[in-house]
Symmetry: C2
Subunit: 581 residues, 2 copies
């Protein structure tokens, strides 16, 4: 008969544990209090006992430092870090993160099941981070070839292939809001299947409100991470969603939403980052950064920690996670205070990944088998010209700093020989998306305000969610050249200005580097510096911001390889022309 | 393709709902606030929308009354109500209860799978109450024939037969603490199986503390309802258990434990009744009574309601329960205030079971096929005599009012002709347990203090958990006669005093009546009055208290058909003699 409990005797104290962390100030997120002077006994991968009377083969006196559970990110797309999972794990474990709930839909959009398998493989080759996955619900975001060309398609049958893998713990964010609300049979089937499995269905409902929100929640979708204002978030909480407060590189919503958190609702509120670029990981951190924001804004430290630990585990129905108790995975962080949350030690599954500031050695670099996903037939530069239409104004996307929501504006463009031109005086750039999976030659052209470009062009093969090539620039030659350089590097982010260029190569599916965390940070920083100095844009993370301009499930105006797409909450997206009727 | 969401259009408002509850004061246990003037749209069994703009085929103006979710009892043995489930549902729905989490281990101990099937059948024949079951983990409480004779045995193989029934949502209370802690392979197998199914394992750990508690929790057991003091409950909460605060007829712990509840821990605290007799159901109520205690003791009403609704649903991982939101089962209560919690209307699964004080008509009475479970070979009266041993003191159980914990005391008994006798002057009665399942003739004899008996005898075929016949009395003839009358009625509770007697017949497995709620209350009240008037005992619910004196998993001294058993937390129970060494 299988004994699932090999450390029962260590728990009972009739055998010594492997390790005793003595003299801890235990942050007990279960009971909401701090316990002084306790010992934590660890055997194998698990905490086995808490008290003062345990013994361990090894004993470490923590001298009254705080010990809190390893932090858990409730929703993230790891591909956005541009790092392979082992390198991302290195970056995140320094911040006290021991587990993430990752939706692999970026790589799934590029490389379908093979892409997801790659993430699973690399997750298992890292020792720092427990990576739980959600089953990508919307590959592509909206499966309508008239809205955009997409590379992969995952219907309900394909999704069922994930059901017997215990690392998949939810259905990933249901971005296809119209499909859900208006009853697309495939969407309803996915939701029916996941509920029958007893797993959560994660939501994605920016600005959704009223009856459409009710209908969306009626389908069993039980969380959201897209709220940008308190009223929006309050309505979602009232109507039954767990709220994930998000602080991503391009989606900074945490501080705005904290006024919502109170003693009666916080158990249904979690922290999530959604998308983090490597510079932010290096400079700000991860969930530790979010905890600092919480505490600085008056949230009690214990409540902030609950939102990043036990609340996440409870939402995902994981019994042995999110807190430090007998039988829990030994995922924990040692830190001298609860204001800065800077770890002196981090343990994952009973093994130190950082101890006294020293990290586990990095594993062997992983070679990717996912190269050469670029298959683009770029148009000639002349094809990018936009002919003016007499008496009509130009429709353009307006970018908003720190948000992935965009607006729509109309402008009178500068004309040269009857062709509409980018115009630094109006902060107006041209923006193009080039299909890059099927060699179709499809591309879309539009205009965008708010990027701050003065000259040159910047582009990215990270372009949510279908990850075609997106480029914004101030002249067609630069735009064409940026796109060409991206294909030459098998994917990446590129800025060009005259003959000069900077490249952040992303050869793994066009989304990720196979370099180290440190090298990618340097490359990305060089790219950003170049954008500021050579392209004249002061926008923070220009390439990252650009990568969301092609996502036709986020209001209000986006661009795909099929052209401009208007997105409004609760309505089906519609293509619109460059010129206003 | 199956559409699991037939009321999506009603949720979206493109079709009217079946029913609109207008002008509600919605008690939102999800966000912890009260929403004024909202409408609740209901279609089929579910809430489909909340707002002000819905329409329904029928519309009821609730004129600003409070609407809160149907109450959920986190742990109960329905058999203790002595009512069949349809009658119990009648009694409970009047209190605003719409769901219970029932451990059918009483009837399982008497009649194994057939008994559980009976409860399942009757649950499906009631329209008032959603009865979720736990899989009885400990039938019998401790499977050791030297501790007591038991009728049924359910090993891990038998328990697996429940796994595909979705009404079973947890492993029932693991009362076999020694088996768990010291690694009985069958117990470990049950816990391993349930964790693999993703279901909770409920605990039962009176007075367990320190390392044995750690070991018990290490096994994945994640709740407890047996705490009697704040320090005990705090330790269990700290170590990872969800706490069920209990207010049963014989186990009154709620008020003592309320000081523990605070803003940081309340999401892990639930309300439960465990065992309720029909008089208490009639006079005090059910969870509404517990809510009144909470509010009277300073717990905010919203938090009290969370403990009786959403916290319970979250613990058992039920997604569409415990709150009023789109997609939730329409289980709700209408009441004029949040201090008395007296419903004017109760709805279960979209159907009113009480409206304007009028109840749904009762269903057809159910005939039980579980009669004649009595199979006892009672000893002659002379066999009950206890011969004094020179120079030795008598060991006796001490009963504690309102608790199922007992103590152990030693007394110098009154002797008559060298035989130890009951003694009203010392409040000392004789207590016997007679095996009644296997016709074995086994019986145990001991003494007990604290029942307040002056004469006669009182007995019960409800005798946790093996449900042999237990009788306490002041003379052997009365004891023998009470036992004989219980067998004659195919089970029941009986009091005898000289030639007079009162009987509450319990022919369904010796545990339940097949009468109506009202008739059982009258019979039980008559029995209690008789105990007071004819037997002279002022103890509240004497027969109910007696029914726990045979449960050898509750400290500190109990009696079975094998004699006295000493029970200490964290240790294996041991048989002890009537005379102290």
């Amino acid at each position: 008969m299988a004994d699932n409990f090999p450390h029962r005797e260590a728990a009972l104290g009739s055998r010594p544990a492997d390790l005793l962390l003595a003299n801890c100030r235990l942050v007990n997120v279960l009971s909401g209090r701090i316990e002084e002077g306790v010992s934590i006994a660890i055997a194998g991968n698990h905490v086995v006992g808490i008290g003062t009377e345990y013994e361990g083969a090894e004993r470490i006196d923590l001298q009254g430092q705080y010990v809190y559970p390893g932090l858990m990110d409730a929703h993230i797309h790891l591909e956005s870090s541009k790092l392979t999972i082992p390198e991302c794990g290195r970056a995140m474990s320094r911040c006290g993160t021991t587990a993430v709930f990752a939706d692999p839909h970026e790589i799934a959009n590029v490389a379908s099941l093979e892409g997801v398998s790659y993430q699973l493989d690399t997750a298992s080759h890292n020792e720092r981070l427990s990576v739980y996955f959600s089953i990508p619900s919307c590959v592509p975001a909206i499966p309508d070839p008239e809205l955009e060309t997409f590379a992969s398609y995952m219907g309900p049958t394909k999704l069922r292939t994930f059901f017997n893998n215990p690392w998949f713990v939810s259905l990933g964010e249901m971005m296809n809001m119209p499909g859900a609300i208006y009853g697309d049979p495939k969407v309803l089937q996915k939701l029916t299947d996941i509920e029958a499995r007893g797993l959560r269905a994660d939501g994605h409902a920016p600005l959704l409100s009223g009856k459409p929100l009710n209908a969306y929640i009626y389908l069993g979708i039980s969380s959201d991470h897209e709220s940008t204002g308190v009223a929006e978030a309050q309505e979602k909480l009232d109507r039954g969603m767990y709220l994930m407060l998000r602080e991503g590189s391009t989606e900074s919503n945490l501080q705005d939403l904290l006024p919502l958190v109170n003693e009666h609702n916080s158990s249904r509120i979690l922290l999530a980052s959604d998308d983090l670029d490597p510079i932010d990981l290096a400079e700000r951190g991860h969930l530790d950064h979010m905890l600092r924001i919480c505490v600085a804004n008056g949230v009690p430290a214990i409540r902030a920690l609950q939102m990043a630990t036990i609340n996440v585990a409870t939402y995902f129905r994981l019994s042995r996670h999110g807190a430090i108790f007998p039988g829990a995975l030994a995922d924990l962080v040692v830190a001298p205070d609860l204001t800065e949350f800077r770890p002196t030690a981090v343990m994952r599954s009973g093994r130190f990944v950082i101890r006294d500031g020293v990290e586990l050695p990095a594993g062997r670099p992983l070679r990717s088998h996912l190269r050469s996903t670029m298959n683009a037939d770029l148009p000639p530069v002349e094809a990018l010209a936009v002919r003016a239409v007499a008496g009509r104004k130009l429709r353009c996307i307006t970018a908003q700093p720190g948000q992935i929501l965009t607006g729509e504006a109309t402008v009178s463009p500068r004309l040269v020989d009857g062709w509409a031109q980018p115009d630094p005086a109006q902060d107006l750039a041209k923006i193009c998306v080039f299909e890059r999976h099927r060699n179709s030659g499809a591309f879309g052209v539009g205009f965008i305000q708010g990027l701050g470009l003065k000259r040159g062009a910047v582009g990215s093969s990270v372009c949510h969610d279908s990850h075609n090539i997106i480029v914004a620039g101030m002249d067609d030659e630069s735009i064409r050249r940026a796109a060409e350089r991206i294909t030459a590097f098998h994917g990446g982010q590129v800025a060009v200005a005259g003959p000069a260029e900077r490249v952040l190569p992303l050869p793994v599916a066009g989304l990720m580097s196979d370099g180290t965390f440190e090298s990618v940070v340097l490359e990305e920083q060089a790219l950003h510096d170049f954008c500021q100095e050579a392209l004249g844009s002061s926008m923070k993370r220009l390439a990252a911001a650009l990568s969301f301009m092609g996502l036709p499930v986020i209001p209000e105006l986006k661009i795909t390889d099929q052209g401009l797409v208007r997105v409004q909450a609760g309505r089906y997206p519609e293509r619109v022309g460059v010129w206003v009727d």
